[in-house]
């Protein structure tokens, strides 16, 4: 508990709120790097995930890649990239991008896959071309899940972005490392608390976005789910459970 008091003391100490390396500056840096990583990772992972979800092909590839990337220890990746690229932001940004890709990829393909095939089929049957099917049907309907992927990616990025400070003078990781090295645990814990709060706020924002992303018609559906099932379901047997676990 003593530690906690020290942490709070560090956070509220006015000396830490001004000048170079001040708390607001660190928070700003942290957010900025996280946003950059999120944008880059999204630009890579979302289109691939959507393509896989849209075509239904390459899911195995996605599962394998996500698994492999997830297994890649971020610390190891960071050191390796550090050795090759030197200090500064490039190495941590790449390491974090790798970290963020699996949840984004999974969100995108799971989202696209979750769209009722009959709806897509109908869209095609009335004469939508492929881009229209993607843009007007699959994207809006999969948005909540896609945003869910972005949400968990952003949580991981913010939590792990402290590693950026390992080789760059950046973000809330700096006071954490500094506190660790100088055994100023108040500082270390204080900065950690800030990271958690930051994550909380960003996560909350994305949770809200996720809710807003549910299309109006689909939301209306939720409130009417009283009936146990459609009047006459067709005989579709042995439906597989759609998760990342299908071989």
């Amino acid at each position: 508990m003593n530690l906690l008091l020290d942490a709070i003391a560090w956070i509220v100490d006015p000396a830490n709120w001004t000048g170079p390396g001040s708390i607001p500056l660190r928070i700003w840096e942290h957010l900025w790097v996280a946003a950059l990583v999120l944008v880059i990772a999204s630009a890579i992972a979302l289109p691939i995930g959507m393509l896989i979800g849209h075509t239904g092909r390459g899911k195995q590839f996605a599962v394998m890649t996500s698994g492999g990337l997830r297994a890649l220890p971020t610390l190891g990746a960071l050191t390796l990239f550090g050795l090759w690229l030197g200090i500064g932001l490039p190495a941590p940004v790449i390491a974090l991008v790798i970290l963020a890709i699996p949840p984004l990829l999974a969100g995108a393909y799971a989202g696209f896959e979750s769209v009722d095939r009959r709806t897509i089929d109908a869209a095609r049957a009335v004469g939508m071309n492929e881009p229209q099917v993607v843009g007007k049907v699959e994207l809006p309907l999969s948005l909540p899940i896609v945003v869910g992927g972005i949400r968990s990616a952003s949580l991981q990025i913010i939590a792990t972005a402290i590693l950026a400070a390992y080789i760059a003078d950046f973000g809330l990781g700096r006071p954490i490392f500094e506190g660790l090295r100088t055994r100023d645990y108040g500082e270390m814990l204080g900065a950690s608390i800030l990271v958690i709060i930051l994550a909380l706020v960003v996560d909350g924002a994305f949770a809200l976005a996720q809710r807003l992303a549910v299309p109006a018609g689909v939301r209306a559906n939720r409130t009417r789910e009283l009936r146990s099932r459609p009047a006459r379901p067709r005989a579709i047997l042995g439906q597989p459970i759609n998760e990342g676990n299908q071989q």
Partner: protein
């Protein structure tokens, strides 16, 4: 006129869904494809708007092989109604109906005005235009589906078990509605069902398909009933189960028509 010439479809996984089918679907009439599950009805229907391409044979619309037409354009000119209505859940009713005209570049105003008229045509209140599909009952959704199918005033209307998912009362209503509509519009309707009663009710021509995508008989309902082409057809229409072998019996002074199992089919009007 739609013509199937020696059409075969084998799916990549080896399933032979349809084999060597020849049918002529006359214009301005309703042709019903009926058969049990997996007999290839949907596959056949989808060849008309190129949702499926045959592996052998040709499908001709008014003499033109559809394989030579651009699929997206072709589909925009053919109405399509499916079992679960196939409406886009995130679009309002009016947007759903106006989808295809808008895709074809009709102005928003014109498309919406026409869509509202179509709601009248299919017997829906205009006040429903701003609802989402999930806020409608199953029967209402099917009506919207039909309205959407009619939106580009197509010559051909494909309907794949459009009333399969609604309960019997609503179903009967929708069937009547379709008969009325078809009386007014005279489209070339190709209708898929696996309910032989529905087929007999709606079809000018009924095509009975059997497992493996072959055609057992294609004729008018009365002809099929009077002279089933083979044992499969007889079984399918229920002739050999006694369902169609009726006799009369007297209940409370009225002539009740009863089938071979003793199940009452109706009352004879004098």
């Amino acid at each position: 006129m739609i013509e199937f010439r020696g059409v075969t479809k084998q799916f990549p996984d080896g399933t032979l869904a349809v084999e060597g089918v020849d049918i002529v679907i006359p214009p301005h009439q309703t042709t019903v494809l009926v058969g049990s599950s997996g007999s290839g009805k949907t596959t056949l229907l989808r060849m008309i708007n190129r949702m499926v391409d045959p592996t052998a044979g040709q499908v001709l619309i008014d003499g033109t092989d559809v394989a030579t037409l651009d699929p997206v354009n072709l589909r925009r000119g053919i109405g399509y109604v499916m079992q679960n209505s196939g409406l886009l859940p995130h679009r309002k009713v009016i947007d759903n109906v106006a989808t295809v005209p808008l895709l074809r570049g009709v102005s928003k105003r014109a498309a919406y005005a026409h869509a509202l008229e179509l709601l009248d045509t299919v017997g829906l209140d205009r006040s429903l235009a701003d609802r989402y599909p999930s806020q409608l009952s199953g029967g209402q959704q099917q009506r919207v589906g039909v309205a959407r199918g009619l939106a580009v005033d197509p010559n051909i209307l494909l309907m794949d078990e459009p009333f399969g998912a609604v309960d019997p009362i609503v179903r009967a209503e929708l069937q009547q509605e379709l008969l009325r509509l078809q009386g007014e519009l005279g489209k070339t309707v190709v209708f898929v069902t696996h309910d032989i009663d529905e087929a007999f009710l709606l079809g000018d021509q009924v095509v009975i398909m059997q497992q493996g995508g072959q055609i057992s008989q294609a004729a008018s309902p009365a002809e099929i009933l009077a002279a089933p082409a083979d044992a499969f057809v007889a079984d399918f229409v229920g002739a050999d189960r006694g369902k169609r072998a009726l006799h009369l019996t007297d209940v409370g002074g009225r002539q009740v028509v009863v089938d071979a199992d003793g199940r009452p089919a109706g009352v004879l009007s004098s």
